[in-house]
């Protein structure tokens, strides 16, 4: 696990509405323009596992334990099939959400934190984790303004926090944020102030990445 791999793994984490997906999209675009070998992977996107997750969510079959396990399965599939081989092949792997999303959400759902951490112990910790920190109200406003229809699990309705989805979402996000805050030091997150404008955030992200990763060495070698 600790052996040096030629690739580098960069993850973004943060609340829904923190703007992390926008930022990683911009980062990816910038890296690709420089001819850097980049691979992007998104939480909950493995094709085979997704059909089970979708069914579980739609029919409301999931418990905290199976919710945790099925997301770990999805992650493992992407990790074993793509992320790890690509890291070995010297890619910059960008992950929109990584194991910390599970650590935060599953703990809020009542699953033992040590058990969840052990589930994911087969995977490497990222070389860099960018945590997009926004005050709860800011993140809530962004989500609730743009897309008022909240999905059942997204709003944390399974926790029985409140009858109203919006109210449930507020409480749920607050609990998740507290878990993220606890992990900042534990896992050495790089904190990005997500209340800044998108351009300022992206400038900070690019600075951080350039200072920590020797980007030119990840360029495609051109055959002449």
């Amino acid at each position: 696990m600790d052996t040096e791999l030629p690739g580098r793994l960069i993850a973004v984490e943060g609340l829904d509405g923190s703007g992390k997906s926008t930022q990683i999209h911009l980062l990816r675009h910038w890296l690709e323009q420089q001819g850097i070998r980049v691979f992007f992977s998104e939480w909950n996107s493995s094709v085979l596992v997704k059909s089970a997750t979708r069914k579980g969510k739609k029919r409301n079959l999931l418990t905290p334990t199976t919710f945790s396990l099925i997301h770990a399965t999805d992650f493992a599939d992407r990790y074993e099939r793509q992320m790890l081989p690509l890291l070995r092949a010297g890619y910059l792997v960008l992950a929109d959400r990584y194991m910390f999303t599970a650590f935060a959400r599953d703990a809020v759902r009542g699953v033992q934190p040590n058990w969840v951490r052990s589930l994911y112990s087969f995977a490497r910790e990222p070389d860099m984790t960018l945590y997009f920190r926004a005050p709860l109200q800011v993140a809530l406003d962004r989500i609730l303004f743009g897309r008022p229809q909240l999905k059942y699990h997204e709003a944390g309705m399974d926790l029985g926090l409140a009858d109203d989805p919006v109210e449930s979402f507020r409480i749920f996000q607050g609990l998740i944020m507290a878990k993220y805050e606890q992990m900042i030091d534990e896992y050495g997150f790089d904190v990005v102030d997500a209340t800044q404008g998108a351009e300022q955030q992206q400038a900070q992200v690019r600075d951080l990445v350039s200072s920590r990763v020797d980007l030119p060495s990840y360029r495609w070698r051109r055959s002449r």
Binding site: E80, W115, F122
Partner: protein, 251 residues
């Protein structure tokens, strides 16, 4: 040896108090062809004939992921950790939706294999034992675990009689032990049995010689189960319980 109090192997399931589970959990482990399903059918008929409600569970039968697991097995497309977690999801779904509710209602749950087969499959493929133990810390400790042990060559014979083909996974073909399916089957089943033997100390399997006739095997299982239920009070099996084929009586 076995704890008297009902408990989980590890952290267990969120908001589930094992002390409220008054039923019993009986596991039958063994390879395909070891007679598991025959034994479970006989046990179910016997127990229900005695007025004891039973519930059935088995691997890859969950509503949540069984279809996807079936698909995954066909393609050999999933990595080993992914496969482990997928099976664990299937197990957890049945644990929470069948085993725990049935035990809360006082049923005897008959499990056609349990976490041990899942762990052994992964162990022979090089998984980390500590990781597996933590993963299956969600599982309830059963009251009885029978391991039907049948010589690999006999297993092959029984399988051929039924389907004239050795299953790809039951032959461990993904391990590359041999390109010859029969040879691979024998080697793989031997590895599996050795792995079960190494887990004996921790999990206290009751080793059952499955090379004998189903009737003899069932007699042993019934004696153990009857003793367990008696120790718990309340169960008086019909003395000299005549037939070992109660299903025939029902017909």
């Amino acid at each position: 040896m076995r704890p008297q109090e009902r408990c989980f192997y590890g952290d267990g399931i969120v908001r589930t108090d094992p002390a409220t589970l008054t039923g019993k959990l009986v596991v039958v482990e063994g390879a395909d062809g070891s007679g598991r399903s025959t034994q479970i059918r006989l046990l179910r008929d016997w127990l229900e004939g005695e007025g004891i409600p039973t519930a059935d569970v088995g691997l890859a039968r969950s509503m949540l992921v069984s279809a996807e697991l079936e698909q995954a097995k066909l393609g050999n497309v999933l990595g080993r950790t992914t496969m482990s977690l997928f099976y664990a999801t299937d197990f957890a779904d049945q644990l929470e939706n069948i085993i725990i509710p049935a035990m809360a209602a006082g049923f005897v749950v008959l499990a056609d294999r349990y976490i041990y087969t899942l762990m052994v499959r992964d162990l022979v493929r090089g998984a980390d034992p500590a990781w597996l133990q933590c993963l299956y810390g969600i599982a309830l400790v059963p009251d009885l675990v029978f391991h039907l042990r049948v010589a690999p060559r006999k297993l092959a014979q029984r399988t051929f009689r039924k389907s004239s083909e050795l299953d790809f996974w039951e032959s461990g073909m993904d391990l590359g032990l041999s390109r010859d399916r029969f040879d691979s089957f024998i080697r793989y089943q031997t590895l599996v049995q050795r792995s079960f033997a190494t887990m004996q100390d921790r999990y206290h399997f009751i080793e059952v010689n499955g090379n004998r006739s189903p009737t003899l095997v069932n007699r042993q299982l019934r004696e153990e189960i009857a003793a367990m239920l008696r120790a718990d009070g309340g169960f008086e099996p019909v003395p000299n319980a005549a037939s070992y084929r109660p299903s025939a009586r029902l017909l």
